[in-house]
């Protein structure tokens, strides 16, 4: 034996526990000395009886090896060995003997002795003997480990089979489909006992809902010894049903013979239920004609949206798309609001806050030219549902009604005063053809037209002039003429005219036999007609006189009476609270035709009263005034003059502001201020470019309106007086001479 093997051997023998039995002390001492090279644990017994006693005191497997002499007093080695082997027949015993007789030695082996060594003990014999013992031990250990492994595997297999039986819905049939095995799980799901199933055909659980074609396919497949997988609705013993996903495969015995079929199944009843419910819901949603969709924290669309969504977004699929992008890609403000709001909803657990955030999200949006109403609903698990409704038709109807109302207003306004309308039309046509070269006059006239058209409820042209005014603010006359050309006022005006002519007839606007007739000639002509009529009493002539009378409506009252609805409208648009404007004066008072431009220019004064004169309700309450403002318009005839008095109870004119503005626009020089009387200061309101209001509104504030009044008044040799009282209002008194009629 080489050194290395010896070393390995000693390593192993050192671990052994040994009982050494020897009666001769000298032999014992010598042997122990030798043994100590190999052994660390040696107990000594002085004869067989002592050895047996010591052996019994220890646990059965305590000693790995017993080394014993044979010839000993009290009890010899053979007897002791026999006794020990009775206790533990696997005990290893090594006998040291002087015998050489093979029969004797064979007997030793026969009674169960592991090995023997001849006396005197020689080292090489001893090593050989130990090696043999260790070899036995090694083999035994290995076998033990093997056994442990197998028993563990067996245990696992048992558990597996057990759980297979409990949890897997499994069955086997013979080649004809008769059940030969059914697991516990199968019993539970089908409601049948295994004993009720064995020997039965598998069709015992067939549900009438299953098409027979499905089973034909199944048999076709498995008869070819192929695997069949499919969803099957099965009939339970109690008449109810369950759904399984079945995997059916051919089954072979240990010899590889095809003896039947084996099936395992997954219970998919709840999955099927959810699927059916989902289908039902989606079906419902699809038929509702509304877009239903949902998304999570990542804003990505979930599967399961209604068909209408695809119509609304005009897409083939929207799954996984970003909802915010889908809805608001063309409106960054709404998109931002939506994303911010949804994130806030997702990041709070407070239901009330969620509801508040959702209520602030965009409620309507135009998607692919369709007006879409958007409703939001928070579901659990951070999912938000959106309901989209196409309200295009509702909206169209609404705007149609609004438009119709607007048209109706325009028609009523135009038709109720045809002369006036034709007048304006001709003036405006002329204006467009011959745009004034003086910038101030141009702006002033344009502004007056806007006021007049607004009064006539002609929306297209009014809005268009408003846009034009904004475009030409700081432009030179050359630039303005170019802008005019591009803007094409005529075309826009024709749009309004087209609506009017489509309703009132082509004649209404093409009738251009209109020319100014002075009031006296008119009266004379009328009187003459009436005289003829009284003599002839002709029906036709009678009608002519009625028509004739209609041509003339230059009663001051009716000319001024166009302003009350205008003031009301202005007040509404500026959010001012104003009592209805009343016109007070003799309703039969007639005025010369040439007064008309002046009366029309008064629109600027009324605008000014509403916008700059009357304060907001807040201000009025703060100054302990009536919350509602009052604007009055009175007129009367005094000798050869007509007086028109227009007043308001607003804040009055702030002459200091007027002065500052006048200086800043170079209307007056700073050194002129001290020369100006209070009245002269007030008259600055009639200067061009002098509005004290910073904002330019649709109706006033461009500083050209008021000057129009003054220039019209001057044409009539009229006069103005202004009574101004800060915080109490302002009163304009216009005096118009009528003595030089026909001038």
């Amino acid at each position: 034996m080489d050194k290395l093997s010896l070393k390995h051997l000693v390593e192993k023998t050192k671990k052994l526990k040994i009982l050494y039995v020897e009666d001769n002390q000298e032999t014992r001492n010598q042997a122990v000395k030798v043994f100590e090279n190999f052994l660390d644990h040696i107990d000594i017994a002085i004869d067989g009886l002592d050895g047996l006693t010591q052996y019994k005191q220890k646990t059965t497997n305590y000693y790995d090896l017993i080394i014993s002499d044979i010839n000993m007093p009290n009890m010899n080695g053979m007897d002791m060995s026999e006794e020990i082997l009775k206790i533990n027949n696997e005990q290893h015993i090594l006998i040291i003997t002087a015998h050489n007789n093979p029969e004797y030695l064979q007997e030793l082996i026969n009674i169960g002795i592991t090995n023997y060594i001849h006396k005197p003990v020689r080292m090489d014999n001893l090593i050989q003997a130990f090696a043999k013992v260790i070899d036995i031990f090694d083999k035994k250990n290995q076998a033990n480990q093997e056994f442990n492994k197998i028993s563990k595997l067996n245990h696992e297999l048992d558990a597996l089979v057990d759980s297979f039986d409990t949890y897997v819905i499994a069955s086997r049939t013979d080649l004809k489909g008769k059940i030969t095995y059914a697991s516990k799980a199968y019993e539970i799901i089908s409601g049948y006992k295994e004993s009720e199933l064995i020997g039965q055909p598998h069709s015992i659980v067939r549900h009438p809902d299953m098409p027979s074609l499905a089973f034909k396919q199944l048999w076709d497949t498995i008869k070819k010894e192929k695997l069949w997988i499919g969803e099957v609705k099965n009939l339970k013993k109690d008449g109810t049903f369950y759904w399984v996903e079945a995997h059916i495969a051919p089954y072979y015995n240990a010899n590889g013979e095809h003896i039947g079929y084996s099936a395992i199944r997954l219970d998919i009843t709840s999955k099927k239920r959810a699927e059916l419910l989902n289908n039902e819901i989606i079906n419902l949603l699809d038929n509702a004609g509304q877009g239903f969709l949902s998304f999570g924290k990542d804003f990505k669309l979930n599967q399961g949206f209604s068909k209408e969504c695809l119509n609304i977004f005009n897409k083939i699929d929207i799954f996984n798309e970003n909802i915010s992008e889908l809805l608001f890609f063309d409106d960054s403000i709404k998109k931002d609001l939506f994303e911010d709001g949804i994130s806030r909803v997702m990041n709070t657990t407070d239901d009330m806050m969620k509801e508040l955030f959702l209520s602030l999200l965009p409620k309507e949006h135009i998607i692919n030219n369709k007006d879409i109403k958007i409703k939001y609903k928070f579901l659990q698990n951070n999912i938000v549902m959106i309901i989209l409704t196409d309200i295009t038709n509702t909206k169209k109807l609404e705007s149609k009604i609004i438009k119709q109302n607007q048209v109706q207003k325009m028609i009523v306004s135009v038709a109720s005063n045809k002369n006036d309308f034709i007048d304006i039309k001709n003036e405006f046509d002329n204006f467009i053809l011959n745009i004034p070269s003086d910038l101030t006059i141009l702006k002033r006239e344009l502004h007056t037209f806007k006021g007049v058209f607004a009064q006539k409820e002609m929306v297209y042209i009014t809005n268009s002039i408003h846009q034009l005014e904004s475009k030409i603010i700081d432009k030179s006359i050359i630039e303005i003429k170019q802008i005019f050309q591009k803007h094409n006022l005529k075309k826009i005006f024709e749009k309004d005219l087209l609506i009017i002519s489509s309703i009132l007839g082509e004649e209404f606007i093409t009738e251009d036999e209109y020319f100014p007739v002075d009031i006296n000639s008119f009266e004379i002509l009328k009187e003459k007609l009436e005289i003829i009529n009284s003599q002839l009493n002709n029906n036709l002539l009678n009608d002519i006189i009625v028509d004739f009378n209609k041509l003339k409506d230059d009663f001051l009252y009716s000319l001024l009476n166009v302003y009350p609805p205008l003031v009301k409208k202005m007040a509404l648009s500026l959010n001012k609270e104003i009592y209805p404007l009343t016109i007070l004066g003799d309703k039969s008072l007639k005025i010369p035709n040439k007064f008309k431009p002046f009366i029309k220019s008064l629109i600027h004064l009324f605008n000014n009263c509403v916008e700059h004169g009357i304060e907001t309700s807040d201000c009025r309450i703060d100054s302990s005034k009536n919350e509602f403002g009052t604007i009055k318009c009175n007129f009367k005839k005094e000798q050869n003059n007509i007086k028109i008095i227009i007043s308001d109870d607003g804040q009055g004119i702030d002459t200091n502001k007027l002065l500052l503005k006048a200086i800043s626009t170079n209307t007056i020089m700073e050194n002129q201020i001290n020369i100006l009387s209070e009245e002269e200061k007030l008259f600055l309101v009639f200067k061009d470019n002098l509005s004290t209001k910073e904002n330019i509104s649709m109706t006033s504030g461009r500083g050209v309106g008021m000057s129009a009044i003054k220039s019209e008044l001057e044409k009539l040799n009229g006069d103005i007086k202004i009574n101004n009282s800060i915080n109490n209002g302002v009163e304009f008194i216009f005096t118009l001479p009528i003595n030089k009629i026909g001038e």
Binding site: L337, G341, R344, M352, F357, L360, T616, I621, D622
Partner: protein, 123 residues
């Protein structure tokens, strides 16, 4: 009946709110014209509810809300807002506002918000 403080720089809104709230049987205990004034008056009156305008000079409604909330966690504050202020309203709600009304103010809107903030109120 609730004790209510109205915070708004507009007199007309203050008046409208006072009238409507009193009609509903509530008690307007204080009115403030600015956020700063609101903070001072809150600790003095400890109202059950504050109506808070969002855009006010000196100190806006959201700042005032935050300051009141930092001292009085349980303060009930609702915002008075206009169209286009949705983001600000969201900020206010994140900072603890309990509700909001979009102008113009109507009794119906007020009733709905109050019912949500004070579910225990029976009308």
């Amino acid at each position: 009946m609730l004790n209510i403080m109205i915070v708004d720089d507009s007199l007309i809104i203050r008046k409208t709110l006072t009238t409507e709230l009193e009609k509903m049987g509530h008690n307007v205990v204080a009115t403030a014209k600015s956020g700063q004034e609101a903070i001072d008056l809150y600790s003095k009156h400890m109202p059950d509810l504050v109506t808070m305008d969002i855009t006010m000079p000196i100190m806006n409604g959201i700042e005032a809300l935050k300051r009141i909330k930092s001292n009085y966690k349980g303060a009930n504050i609702m915002m008075i807002t206009s169209h286009g202020e949705e983001k600000l309203v969201m900020d206010a709600i994140s900072s603890g506002a309990k509700g909001y009304i979009l102008k113009p103010i109507t009794q119906e809107k007020l009733e709905n918000v109050l019912k949500k903030i004070f579910p225990q109120l029976d009308n």
